[in-house]
Symmetry: C2
Subunit: 386 residues, 2 copies
């Protein structure tokens, strides 16, 4: 196990009917900006529950934060925060709305002139406006971590930010919200959470037995509940398991003391930026090729994954590892998630080169747990993914 | 899954050579009381590392906190805290020293006249003096939770306390500390952590798949590393696994959303209070009888434990459950921990009645996950444990 530090102060309020507890958590004298996305919260009843809980607060609203939260849209919200002297932000949404809110919490107290610097110059956020969340779509884990990913539409850039001040003060997780989520989004959420675990697990073995087993626990649970979730999102107990898995997949716990990869996300972000493919689907496209391309360095953990998660118990290490990658693809297919880039974009010629060029341009030092993957490796992985 | 709230703000600093980081965590203007136990920290080098890290602080010391931290001793420390205007407490020790420090953190800001009321009247601690810990003996999880157990020697009472203000600000976990811990104490620590998991797991099935698998992960890891730890405590990687398991076993995470039992601890505390048997050993004495006595209500989870943790895959549910209890006893025996009360105390006649009487006296409402176990059931379980 490597040395690590771990601290996660977010308060989780989990369960049926918990949205009404909002008023226990936000300071009564706060001036609140309520942030949400495309407006689905108005159709599924969540907006109404939130408004009821806020009845004694001074609050205004900002809707329309898009998936892959756009810098250009968020800058409009930032103007309102300053003009209206907002003191507390409340995100009601999925990862995009929460990530956008994190950017705003940081930008609201940012000393510089150009808030985009927080992302482009990797400035850590050590002070931020306090904020809470009501999670409407389990997937990204943003409700219990201190990271965010923001997209600049004008330059097609998708960059990350983080810092100790970006943990939500609280997050309300009511599993009933998944009842109204479209099936393809549920499939995306399961894929996203599963991929988060893989990025923190599928590296090389160091002895960190509990972290390994926790990671495997989340993957086993997602595999077990996925068919029920897709068939019957009204099944509360499975919805609760799903929601808690998504949070635990990326709240920092399972990555502590172990090497992590994140190459799949880095490459996937480029596919989203270039072609607008759903974030989760880019992960399902890249993961199998990435693991096959890096079979030598990842063989041990792939075999452990095959044995413990998929119960494959015969064959050489390499055979089990390869079989495990097939099982992973089968799992994505069961979710009705295609794992071939060609099925998302007709553009083949030049795509790999285009992505390679974007990595070169950023002077990327190397991707993967060993920081050894160069832009030309990325191009090969993308080519393998057609 | 049941509704739950979860928040754990303790900062964990984990790994080799981390004791020197103390000075990053304690406010530089603090007046510190350094608390420790029997003085073994002076022999194993930990005391010296702590003193070095505190070289720029204004601090005084209070040593001699005994195992099962005694109220009478702690009251002496409390006088020093008040007289010397202490502002920060630093516990350097295992669960007893940390629990004692939690009591002091609470008592230092307690409004009432009689600090024992915090325990006897179950007063929650919502404000406390800030404190941190350097863990020298992994076992109780006290380094990352908000509970404590204190013993009053004069009345042979052992009672619990807790509250949101009782999370340590930070805990430093350097697995190298286990190198100097006597083998029987390491065995106790493994037994204690394992029992903590069992109390939060061995109840009845509700669908909480991730909590179940996390609990099983901790137990599997402890089973896997126990022989190495006992044979070679210099094996750093196993020491690290062991230490992290102990913390995760009782930092609140695995109990969220599920029923919990804790009858074994409640009965075990009485055995410690009456006969001075090591805390962990009382758990090993009571657990097998408790599970056999409550086989009907716990059969499902006992069988799941047998199948997943011990790999027992043939037999009826009841057969697997009974076999799992045997495996549990075998595990304690492997640790050289006796599971029969008769091997600890020659006193047989009247012991069960004595413990029964203590539960009756306290108007206990019923033990176990269903609160159905009465004092007479406790007497039967104790009798079965001879």
């Amino acid at each position: 196990m490597n040395n690590f530090e771990f601290q996660n102060p977010t308060k989780i309020i989990f369960g049926k009917g918990t949205i009404s507890k909002l008023s226990d958590e936000i300071p009564s004298n706060a001036k609140v900006l309520l942030l949400y996305g495309s407006g689905s919260v108005k159709e599924n009843g969540i907006y109404k529950q939130v408004i009821n809980a806020l009845s004694n607060y001074n609050f205004i609203e900002f809707g329309g934060i898009p998936a892959n939260p756009e810098y250009e849209v968020l800058i409009e919200a930032l103007k309102i925060i300053k003009k209206e002297k907002i003191t507390f932000l409340l995100a009601v949404g999925g990862g995009s709305v929460i990530d956008g809110t994190k950017f705003l919490a940081s930008a609201a107290l940012f000393d510089g002139d150009e808030p985009w610097d927080i992302l482009s110059k990797y400035i850590r956020t050590e002070k931020a406006m306090p904020f809470g969340t009501v999670l409407t779509m389990p997937a990204t884990g943003s409700e219990m971590n201190s990271g965010a990913v923001i997209t600049k539409a004008s330059s097609k850039e998708k960059l990350g930010m983080g810092g100790t001040a970006l943990f939500p003060q609280f997050s309300i997780l009511d599993p009933q919200v998944i009842q109204s989520i479209p099936k393809h989004q549920l499939a995306n959420g399961i894929t996203d959470a599963f991929s988060h675990v893989m990025e923190q697990y599928m590296t090389y073995p160091i002895q960190a037995k509990l972290q390994d087993r926790f990671a495997e626990s989340i993957m086993q649970t997602l595999i077990e509940i996925a068919p029920t979730i897709l068939e019957n999102p009204m099944h509360y107990q499975s919805a609760a398991d799903y929601m808690w898995c998504c949070t635990m997949a990326l709240n920092g716990l399972i990555q502590k003391g172990v090497p992590t990869d994140w190459a799949i996300h880095a490459i996937g972000h480029e596919l989203t930026a270039l072609y607008g493919i759903d974030h989760a689907r880019t992960l399902a496209i890249i993961a199998p090729s990435h693991y096959r391309y890096n079979l030598e360095t990842k063989k041990e953990k792939l075999a452990q994954f095959g044995e413990r998660v998929w119960g494959i118990n015969s064959g050489t290490k390499e055979e089990i590892a390869l079989k495990a990658i097939e099982k992973l693809e089968d799992f994505f297919h069961l979710l009705n998630i295609s794992t071939r880039l060609g099925e998302y974009t007709p553009e083949f010629l030049g795509t790999a080169e285009k992505i390679e060029a974007r990595f070169i341009q950023r002077n990327w030092l190397g991707l993967g747990e060993n920081k050894t993957l160069k832009p030309e490796d990325v191009a090969k992985i993308v080519t393998m993914s057609y």
